[in-house]
C-alpha cells in the first residue's frame, strides 16, 4: 500500500515533464497541420470556387463526395497519377536516395578536404532560390537562338534540339534531382562518419575491399538514415511541384509533366481563365495526404521501425 503510494508520484512526474516539453510542438502541429488538414478535407466536400468564394466555412455548400466522384472520372486523372509515380520513383532512385548515397560514399572515401569541397558543390542548388535556379535551367535548354546548349550545338555543327518539348521529363527530373541530392547527402555522410572507427578498422584488418566494406559494414549500419531519407524524400517529392510549375507548368502537351500536387495547385489556386475550383482542388490534395500516410506506414513496416527504435539488446543483459 505504502509502496504504491510512494511510487505513483514518481512515475507521474516524468510523464508530466515530457508532456510539458511536447506541448508547444503539439499545439503547433494542431494549429498548422491537424486543423488545416480537417479544413481541407471539409472544403474538398464543398463546391467552393471563385464564383461563390467565401472564407466562412458555414456558408460553403456541402456536396459530399461529389468532387471525389468527378476526380475519379476525370479522363486525365490516371495520366497525372502515373506521371507522379514515375516522377517520384525515378527522382528518388537516381537522385534523392540513390544519388545522395553515391555522393556520400564517394566523398567519404577520398581526401577529407576534397570530400568537403564536392559536398559543398552539391549544396549550391539548394542554396539558390527556386526562381533563379529555374531561370538558369530555362536559359540552358531554351529553344534556338536563346538556349546555351543549343548555341554550343550550333558552334559544334550539330542540329538544334528541342529540349523543352522532346526531352522534357529528362530535364524535369534533373532539375528536381540535383536539388534533392543535398538532403540525403548530408544525412548519409554524417551517418558514415559516425560509424565507429573500430568497426571500420576491423573490416580493413579482415582484408575487406572498399566495395565489401560498403556492402557488409556501412550499408547495414545505415538502415535508420536510409529509412528516414527514403520516407521523407518520398513524401517531399509527392507534394513538391514548385520547380515543375516554374519549369514546365505541367506541359507541354496534354498534361505531359503534370503531377498530382501541381494539379491540386492548378485547380484550387491558379486558373488562367479565372474561376479557380477550391473545392475540387482540395479533393486532389486530400488524395495526396492519404497516399502519403499509406506510404509512410508501409515504409515503417518494411524497415521494421519498431526494431530500429527498440532498446539496444545490451541494455537487457
Amino acid at each position: 500500500m505504502n509502496t504504491s503510494a510512494r511510487t505513483r508520484p514518481a512515475s507521474a512526474r516524468p510523464n508530466l515533464t515530457a508532456y510539458a516539453f511536447l506541448a508547444p510542438v503539439a499545439i503547433l502541429v494542431m494549429l498548422f497541420f491537424i486543423i488545416p488538414a480537417l479544413l481541407v478535407i471539409y472544403i474538398s466536400m464543398t463546391d467552393l470556387a471563385t464564383a461563390n468564394f467565401t472564407s466562412d466555412v458555414a456558408q460553403m455548400t456541402f456536396i459530399g463526395l461529389k468532387n471525389y466522384e468527378t476526380l475519379f472520372k476525370d479522363p486525365f486523372a490516371h495520366k497525372i497519377f502515373f506521371n507522379t509515380v514515375f516522377y517520384v520513383l525515378v527522382t528518388l532512385s537516381l537522385f534523392n536516395v540513390g544519388g545522395a548515397l553515391v555522393v556520400s560514399l564517394l566523398t567519404a572515401h577520398i581526401n577529407r578536404r576534397a570530400g568537403f569541397f564536392f559536398r559543398a558543390l552539391w549544396l549550391l542548388p539548394r542554396l539558390m532560390t527556386s526562381t533563379v535556379y529555374i531561370l538558369m535551367w530555362e536559359r540552358m535548354v531554351a529553344d534556338p537562338p536563346f538556349g546555351i546548349l543549343n548555341q554550343l550545338f550550333d558552334v559544334a555543327g550539330y542540329d538544334s534540339v528541342a529540349f523543352n518539348t522532346n526531352h522534357v521529363w529528362t530535364f524535369v527530373i534533373l532539375v528536381n534531382g540535383i536539388i534533392g541530392i543535398s538532403f540525403g547527402m548530408i544525412i548519409f555522410t554524417s551517418a558514415i562518419e559516425s560509424i565507429s572507427k573500430d568497426i571500420m578498422n576491423a573490416s580493413l584488418v579482415d582484408g575487406s575491399t572498399s566495395m565489401q566494406r560498403i556492402r557488409y559494414v556501412i550499408l547495414p549500419l545505415m538502415r535508420w538514415p536510409l529509412l528516414f531519407v527514403l520516407s521523407y524524400q518520398t513524401l517531399s517529392l509527392l507534394t513538391s511541384y514548385e520547380e515543375i510549375l516554374l519549369f514546365t507548368n505541367g506541359g507541354p502537351g496534354v498534361y505531359q509533366t503534370e503531377v498530382w500536387a501541381l494539379t491540386a495547385f492548378h485547380r484550387a489556386l491558379s486558373n488562367y481563365f479565372g474561376n479557380a475550383q477550391w473545392g475540387y482542388g482540395s479533393a486532389f490534395a486530400v488524395v495526396l495526404v492519404i497516399v502519403g500516410i499509406i506510404l509512410a506506414v508501409l515504409y515503417l513496416r518494411i524497415f521494421r521501425f519498431r526494431e530500429l527504435v527498440s532498446e539496444p539488446k545490451i541494455e537487457n543483459l
Binding site: 471563385t50 461563390n52 472564407s55 479522363p75 486525365f76 523543352n164 522532346n166 486558373n271
Partner: protein
C-alpha cells in the same frame, strides 16, 4: 487702416486654410497587370496623368496608390479574390473581361450601370464592346483596351514566292471579302515549303500554349460557346472540324511538331525579321514588342511596316473571316469605399487622349468611337489600318464556367496537335466537359 488690412489678410488666409483643410482626402488603389517594356504601362499610369483634373472636378484631394506589374494572370486573379475576401481589394482592378462572370457572381465587383450614367465619356465607347463587359444583363466593367488577333504575313516571303506587289497589298481585302480562305492560306504555306522559300515547318506558326487564340478555329467552323439565353454549349461538329484543322498543320509540314511549348520569345525572334516564317497567328500588341525588342536594329516600326502585313483570320467552314478580341476591363471592387471617385477617375481615362497614349504605345486598338478619328490614332498606319477588324471580332463569353469549357477544348487541341485522331480528341473534350460541368453544358 493698416491694422484693419492686416486683420483682413490674416482672416482671409485662415479661411482659405480652413477651406483647403476641409477638402476631403480620398485614397484610391488601382491594380493593373501590364508589360511595361511592351508599352502597356499607361494602364495604371494614365490615372496619375488625370489625377489633378479629377481632384479639381470633385473638389477633393486624391491619393493614388498605383500597383502595376507583369504578374502571371492566374496568380494575379487569385491575388484579387483573396484580397477581396480579406477586405483589402484595390478600389479599381484591371483584368480580363472573362473574369466578370465569376467575380460578379461572387459579389466581388460592383454593378456599374448607374455609375456609368453619371459620366458622358462612357457614351463614346465602341458599342459592341459593352457586351464583353456584361454579366446577366448588368455592366460590371469599363473597357480598357481591345485588340485584334490577326494573322500576320511576311511580305518578303510572299514576294519570294512570286506574288506581285498588288497581290500582297490586296491580301487583307481579299481575306475580308472571303475570296482568300484559311485553306488558301495553308496551301500558300505548303507551297512556300515545297518551293524552298521557307524551311519545313515554317509556313504557319500558331500560339504556343493555352489561351483565347484557339477560339477562331472553333468559331470559324460554326461553333457556338454560349447561346443568347446563356446556355453553355459544345458543338461536336465544330470541334471536330477545328481539331482536324489543327491536327493537319504538322501533317502538312507547315508547322513544327514542337510548336506547342515553344517559347513566345523564340517565335517572335523567328517571325519578326520577316525572312523565316510565312504566316503567324498573333495579336496586334506584339507589333510594339517586335519593333522595340526584336527588329529595332533593322529599323523597328518602319521595317515592320515595309515587310509585315496583317489580315483577318481567313474564312473557314462557315465562310466568314473573323478576329478575336480580349478586352481588358477596369472593374470597381465591391469593397471600395469611394466608387464615385473611382468612376470619375475611370471616366477621365476613358478619353481619346488618355487611351491613345496606351493604344499607340502598346499597339492595342482604340476603344472609343472618336479615338479612331483623332489625329494621333489616324496617323498610325497599323492601328488605323487594323481598326476595321473590330467589326469582325468575337470574344469569349462571361460565365463562371468558361474556364472549364476552355480547359476541355484545350485538352482536345493538345491531343489533336500531337497526332490523336480528331474524333478521339472530341471525345476527350466531351468526357471532361460532362464530368466537370454535368447539366451546366449542352453537348450537341
Amino acid at each position: 487702416m493698416v491694422k484693419v488690412l492686416r486683420l483682413l489678410l490674416v482672416a482671409s488666409l485662415m479661411l482659405s486654410g480652413i477651406a483647403v483643410a476641409a477638402q476631403e482626402d480620398v485614397t484610391i488603389t488601382v491594380r493593373c497587370a501590364a508589360n511595361i517594356a511592351g508599352g502597356e504601362g499607361w494602364r495604371c499610369d494614365n490615372f496619375a496623368a488625370v489625377e489633378e483634373q479629377v481632384e479639381q472636378e470633385l473638389g477633393i484631394n486624391i491619393t493614388l496608390n498605383l500597383i502595376q506589374d507583369n504578374k502571371a494572370w492566374a496568380d494575379y486573379k487569385t491575388e484579387f479574390v483573396l484580397a477581396a475576401e480579406a477586405g483589402e481589394a484595390p478600389d479599381i482592378v484591371l483584368s480580363g473581361h472573362e473574369d466578370i462572370g465569376a467575380w460578379a457572381a461572387a459579389g466581388l465587383i460592383m454593378p456599374l450601370d448607374e455609375l456609368i450614367a453619371q459620366h458622358e465619356e462612357f457614351a463614346d465607347v465602341v458599342p459592341n464592346l459593352w457586351a464583353s463587359q456584361t454579366y446577366d444583363g448588368v455592366i460590371y466593367g469599363i473597357p480598357q483596351d481591345a485588340e485584334a488577333r490577326p494573322i500576320f504575313y511576311s511580305k518578303l516571303l510572299l514576294a519570294d514566292l512570286g506574288w506581285s506587289d498588288e497581290e500582297i497589298e490586296s491580301l487583307p481585302e481579299r481575306v475580308r471579302t472571303g475570296e482568300f480562305t484559311f485553306e488558301d492560306m495553308l496551301a500558300t504555306a505548303e507551297e512556300a515549303v515545297a518551293e524552298g522559300v521557307v524551311e519545313p515547318g515554317k509556313g504557319y506558326f500558331h500560339r504556343w500554349g493555352n489561351g483565347f487564340d484557339w477560339l477562331p478555329y472553333y468559331l470559324g467552323n460554326g461553333g457556338e460557346i454560349m447561346t443568347e439565353d446563356g446556355q453553355l454549349v459544345f458543338d461536336q461538329d465544330a470541334a471536330l472540324a477545328a481539331y482536324e484543322l489543327i491536327g493537319s498543320f504538322v501533317k502538312r509540314g507547315v508547322t513544327p511538331e514542337t510548336m506547342i511549348g515553344t517559347e513566345s520569345s523564340a517565335i517572335y525572334a523567328e517571325f519578326a525579321p520577316a525572312d523565316n516564317v510565312m504566316f503567324y497567328q498573333g495579336g496586334t500588341w506584339q507589333w510594339a514588342d517586335w519593333a522595340r525588342n526584336y527588329v529595332a536594329d533593322l529599323g523597328g516600326n518602319d521595317y515592320l511596316l515595309e515587310n509585315v502585313g496583317l489580315m483577318l483570320f481567313p474564312a473557314m467552314n462557315d465562310g466568314v473571316p473573323l478576329s478575336l478580341t480580349h478586352p481588358l476591363s477596369y472593374m470597381i471592387s465591391s469593397g471600395s469605399e469611394h466608387p464615385d471617385v473611382a468612376i470619375a477617375l475611370l471616366a477621365a481615362v476613358t478619353t481619346p487622349d488618355a487611351n491613345n497614349r496606351h493604344a499607340i504605345d502598346s499597339f492595342h486598338l482604340g476603344i472609343l468611337t472618336t479615338q479612331v478619328e483623332s489625329e494621333a490614332y489616324a496617323a498610325d498606319p497599323v492601328l488605323s489600318g487594323a481598326h476595321y477588324m473590330l467589326d469582325y471580332t468575337r470574344f469569349a463569353p462571361n460565365t463562371p464556367f468558361y474556364s472549364a469549357w476552355s480547359n476541355a477544348y484545350w485538352a482536345g487541341i493538345q491531343a489533336a496537335h500531337t497526332g490523336t485522331p480528331a474524333e478521339e480528341a472530341v471525345e476527350l473534350a466531351v468526357t471532361q466537359l460532362q464530368n466537370e460541368l454535368g447539366d451546366q453544358i449542352v453537348i450537341r
